[in-house]
Amino acid sequence: MNGARVLALTSRIIRQIVRDRRTLALVFLVPLLVMCVLYVVLTGSSGSVPTLALVRPTGVGSDALNVLIDRLLPPASRLKTVTITADEVEDVLNKSEADAALVFPADLAAQLARGEHPRLQLVLEGSDPAVATAMRESVTALVRQLDVALAQAQSRASQGAGQTVPITTQTTSLLTLAEPRYLHGGPDYTSNDALAPVFIGVFSFFFVFLLTSVAFLRERSQGTIERVLASPLSRAELVMGYVCGFTLFALVQAIVVLLFVVFVLRVHYQGNLGLVFLVAILLTVSGVNLGIFLSTFAQNEFQIIQFIPLVFGLQVLLSGIFWPVEQLPAWLQPVAYLLPLTYANEALRAVMLKGSDFGQIAPQLAALLVFMVLMIGLSALTVRRQVA
């Protein structure tokens, strides 16, 4: 591998793209436009029934309270519930077995009897902001109803004892619902927070794939590939030059998308930007090589366009961008796990929403690496095939 020759090819590619102002503008502006539209369109209503985990009161006199709680819960068609213990909360939420947990003090009955104001704690999983908001609302409503019911019960009891107690109705005087705790994300996360990370991946993969396949097709149709292959430039250097040139653009694009998302759309993120770029690089290199590979099956630009639904449409539908992979029909799920964007989406969401570190996304990075090596192999094979 001769660095100077690779650099010559890389700088030529950069120069060609920079010269094509219209393409350049589209590469950077289209993602922003698409995200703006999504930002407006998405209201983030999730179709599935959320699950609330209950840590129930267990002390003396809790049975009556639990009966009351069950009576007040919304029907299972709107909210599923499971009962867990206090130390299971984080585990259950992290495994996505529930979307939120409502923690009652174990000695709720005793606290009430002593006239105290028991504190209830809501813990939200939080990575899907739409679900988190819905959960927050239904739990708040539930606690209010419970509060009213308890107040009425207490006033009946005191009237029965011949005492006069002012009837508390509207105000939450008996129970206190503490400020919800978010496992991931936060109260001002919106649906865009969950989508934005994914788009960094989608755009770096897709545009680079498109640019490379057309660039390589042109190299063949205008005959320059013959000249390049007859020169001392090796096949490996050729692929490497293309990878470097286009990766640079993909990274600039990722930076633009990221800045736009964070500063203009004010989407929230946490976690290491280095990891975000690592994912973007792995995807880009895959995209360049897939572009080289598929371009050899196209005779003209029109045919390249036909590859878009195959490469792009399939991945957008199946890689978990709009609905989780787990919601796909069982037979489609393995297909989703053959697509690089599935892993990229998981990794990007984990890093940007949950602040995951390198170790936590290592499996996804490994899958992307495998895919990248596979694509490099395919493109090297096709470049070799240019020589009959």
Partner: protein
């Protein structure tokens, strides 16, 4: 990669005694088409060797085999003393393809810079050679224009410049004068003669028979076979004519007869 033997590196063989190009029983089959059919050829150092033949006679395929772009189905090729495929040969070759094969969205100078760089030329040396060859093909004034705005003749000149800017020992020129006006054709051939004097061996394909007379030797190619090979004078004498076209037709007819008798 240890293929960094530069242009004209002395370690490459190809002494005055050994021919620069040796083809031995070359066969190339594309599908059912036999493009080259047992071609034997030797081209010496310092020649201007003309490949003459009708379309589809195998000229371009032979060029591409010599450039290392195509592997022969059978037979062997030695170029610059090395049996192909050998990446070390590439640095000493200049290949001008039939299509003008340029990056249309780049300027003439940027095209030349790219080809210089992949042949390992850099810095001032590179710029000096580019200026020199631009003057040679009369494109100095248009050096910084984008190639897409060039006329056919200008593209052809730039294409030639790109093939020669790294000063190859062997120049493979595939129909360099197609679509070129007579005046420019003449200046191309003057340039080839000059390169030849400077020590570049040239293999040039053409179907302009008047150009053939300017070659040191000619190979007449038809159906992937060498009908005849020799100096223009020898070929004319052998055919008993003073007209290159008549000579070509004579050898073509003789080739057909041999086929019939065989």
């Amino acid at each position: 990669m240890a293929d960094d033997k530069r242009v004209g590196a002395p370690s490459l063989a190809g002494s005055a005694k050994e021919p620069l190009v040796i083809c031995d029983g070359l066969v190339k089959v594309f599908g059912r088409l036999r493009v080259l059919d047992g071609l034997d050829l030797a081209i010496g150092v310092g020649e201007t060797f003309g490949l003459v033949g009708p379309n589809g006679s195998g000229k371009t395929t032979l060029m591409r085999i010599l450039a290392g772009l195509v592997r022969p189905t059978a037979g062997s090729v030695r170029v610059l003393g090395r049996r192909l495929p050998d990446p070390r040969v590439a640095a000493s070759l200049g290949y001008m393809t039939q299509l003008s094969a340029l990056y249309l969205d780049l300027t003439a100078r940027e095209n030349l810079r790219f080809f210089c760089s992949i042949y390992g030329l850099r810095g001032q040396e590179r710029e000096r050679r580019i200026a020199e060859i631009l003057a040679r093909v009369d494109l100095s004034a248009d050096a910084d224009r984008v190639v897409a705005t060039f006329s056919g003749g200008m593209r052809q000149r730039l294409s030639l410049a790109c093939a020669l800017v790294h000063r190859p020992r062997l120049a493979l020129l595939d129909e360099p004068t197609v679509g070129v006006d007579p005046e420019l054709r003449r200046s191309f051939w003057d340039y080839f003669a000059q390169l030849n004097r400077e020590g570049t061996t040239i293999i040039v394909s053409t179907h302009h028979l008047d150009e053939a007379a300017r070659c040191s030797r000619l190979g007449l190619l038809r159906f992937g076979r060498l009908l005849a090979c020799g100096t223009p004078h020898e070929l004319l004498a052998g055919a008993g004519t003073s007209d290159m076209e008549a000579a070509f037709l004579y050898y073509a007819a003789r080739g057909r007869q041999e086929e019939v008798t065989a």
